[in-house]
Symmetry: none
Subunit: 212 residues, 4 copies
Amino acid sequence: MSRKAREAEIYEAAARVFRRKGYHAARIQDVADELGLHKGSLYYYISTKEDLLRGLVEGPMQRMVAATREILATRHAPAQKLTRVIEMHLRHFQESKDFFGIFLREDLDFLDANAETDLRGLVRTYDALWDEVLQEGIAAGVFDAEMEVPIVRKAIIGMCNGTYTWFRADGPYPIQEIARQFAAFALDGLRPRDAARAAATTPSDLSSSSTA
Amino acid sequence: MSRKAREAEIYEAAARVFRRKGYHAARIQDVADELGLHKGSLYYYISTKEDLLRGLVEGPMQRMVAATREILATRHAPAQKLTRVIEMHLRHFQESKDFFGIFLREDLDFLDANAETDLRGLVRTYDALWDEVLQEGIAAGVFDAEMEVPIVRKAIIGMCNGTYTWFRADGPYPIQEIARQFAAFALDGLRPRDAARAAATTPSDLSSSSTA
Amino acid sequence: MSRKAREAEIYEAAARVFRRKGYHAARIQDVADELGLHKGSLYYYISTKEDLLRGLVEGPMQRMVAATREILATRHAPAQKLTRVIEMHLRHFQESKDFFGIFLREDLDFLDANAETDLRGLVRTYDALWDEVLQEGIAAGVFDAEMEVPIVRKAIIGMCNGTYTWFRADGPYPIQEIARQFAAFALDGLRPRDAARAAATTPSDLSSSSTA
Amino acid sequence: MSRKAREAEIYEAAARVFRRKGYHAARIQDVADELGLHKGSLYYYISTKEDLLRGLVEGPMQRMVAATREILATRHAPAQKLTRVIEMHLRHFQESKDFFGIFLREDLDFLDANAETDLRGLVRTYDALWDEVLQEGIAAGVFDAEMEVPIVRKAIIGMCNGTYTWFRADGPYPIQEIARQFAAFALDGLRPRDAARAAATTPSDLSSSSTA
DNA sequence: AATGAATGAGCATTCATTCAT
DNA sequence: TATGAATGAATGCTCATTCAT
């Protein structure tokens, strides 16, 4: 097996193991076992356990940012862009499930400390791109101008990330279906309040009573 | 200081430390430091690090289940029950932020393995109670009968759990306000499709086109 | 046993072990064995193997420099100063035999790299002090003005350091005797060449006063 | 390249590396790097790291012993023999600087343990030859009969070995000049005390009284 | 002859846990 | 109750050595 291929294998195995057990709970031995290698042999390919994690982190996050940029660059309507961004998020999540599983459960900030990684920066960039999508909708008058963009963004992303816990590729719903439901769900919530909600009094009643 | 009080102190300190660093990354020494105690002294109150974690886990989850049961037992309308359950979830989340922080990032299943804990069971119970709320809404004809209850439940809870990442008690929005937004958001999405959505064609258009 | 005392014990044991086997060849286990401790226990007192070495290095070298400074500050004649410096060197060598044994065989420069240690600087200072002694003799016209100070200094010190290989405290000659022989040896070689050694009254005067 | 030549290259590279880093601190990888070879390839020529060291040790020491034997076999006067032996020692030292650098800093006794090497024996032989030179001088009445032969021998050799630390082939003094200075230095110290020092009574008094 | 992948024993270090005081 | 010294198992990592190609 070529060095390249072996290296890829190792990173994939590590991703699985780190996701299952968590980075700190996982042992290098576990990664070696996953591959049927001796743990010492891993160090022919990697330098440290931390670098192994770092190597896992870079790709997926950057690809996601890039994909979001592409969607933003299109001429689609805001609602459609949001739908696509949600879909894109879910898709990347599924495609790099191992990585995002690690990303969500670990505090990866320590990776930025010693090296050239800038995970935190990437996350900030990603958030800013989402905010652009939402702002475009507000500017176009199709999203509620009153909404708090960061909160809404976090709410939607949080909802998407939640799929990590329950979505199974072999389950009854394809990822597109989930994306469609989420998008509809979100878009409903984002409709300008003065317009569409004129008739629908119930929701406001409910929420007001919820503090009672 | 009484044994009881000291014990409580230790568990609180452990909760903070485990949340900050993660259970596996945290050391008993860190917990001792948090308290200004020597690490050996902790063992006068706890038996193992794992039990320390276990002790943290039981209370919050059980209280949450109990609170949900109470809400279910009321005679409120389904939409209102949902609102209250969301609010309750968010409130417990904030009140036991340390615990839920641990709960979300760690794989706590290993706790069930060796002892009388039944975290997994508690979680199943909690999920079932949420499902009841949603079912009541469907039965009453106010929630979309077509919805997949487990998916919707997970989506809403995922959205709530997402607050962990961004909600700050000293931020611009009180927890009630977040809860109200989330509830409105969710209720909008749950309206029976044939009724309330009759006019709203846009969402469906969007989601259908999103696959193109 | 007090922490202080235990710590001292550990450093002494390490000195012995490092001298016997060399720093790199010695294992932390060896140091632990020397003390009847478990190797993990050492880390209750030390931080790393390298720091253990560093701790060994500082004291003796500094004491030697200080002692040389004291001798230089006296009003003794140059020859007598040289005699005393040789004696001092030999005495410190014997008293910190373990340390100097390590010092001579290892390349300790790596210690300066990461930390506040400045072994190389200390050595330079020590050399400079010796050179002062020799220069005073030249200035006073009692040491050969033609000599190359650094070479002579290195030759004498080399000779002294050579005692490491063969001198035994329980051997037939006390350290003072060796020192006296070395001093006489050196002083003979340092007599001004032009003064044509013929009469050579000075040496006897000098060496006799050296015991005063 | 012939096997022989490659082998020689490897031993030379190892000598350089071992001298620079010390045998234990040096890695087989370092030796490979020095040659631009892969470390696995070395094992086509050597059997173990220890044997590599062993191979370095044998030649120089044996040549030195042989050279000393030749000088002893001449009819030169004792003082001249001593001068030549010093010169020879310094010259071999310089010519096999790598080896002697290793020899001086490492405890090479472990090499004798497992194999046919007899380094310790060679050293003993070499010392004995030096002692013969000194004894001849005493017998001829030109060296101080009172001297302790082993001590003097060790002192002179120690002085010579000290050159390792400071002598540079490209420095201001050729090896011969150093040798000449050392020889004069030593011969001065070896003059019979009763004869040449007739006038200088004090030194002898001192050294004699020092044993009292 | 040389490569480079793999091995496996060994080492420094960490850390939960125990226990005498 | 609390301390702090000690334990010992575990872990990340290194490195001499082997071997198929």
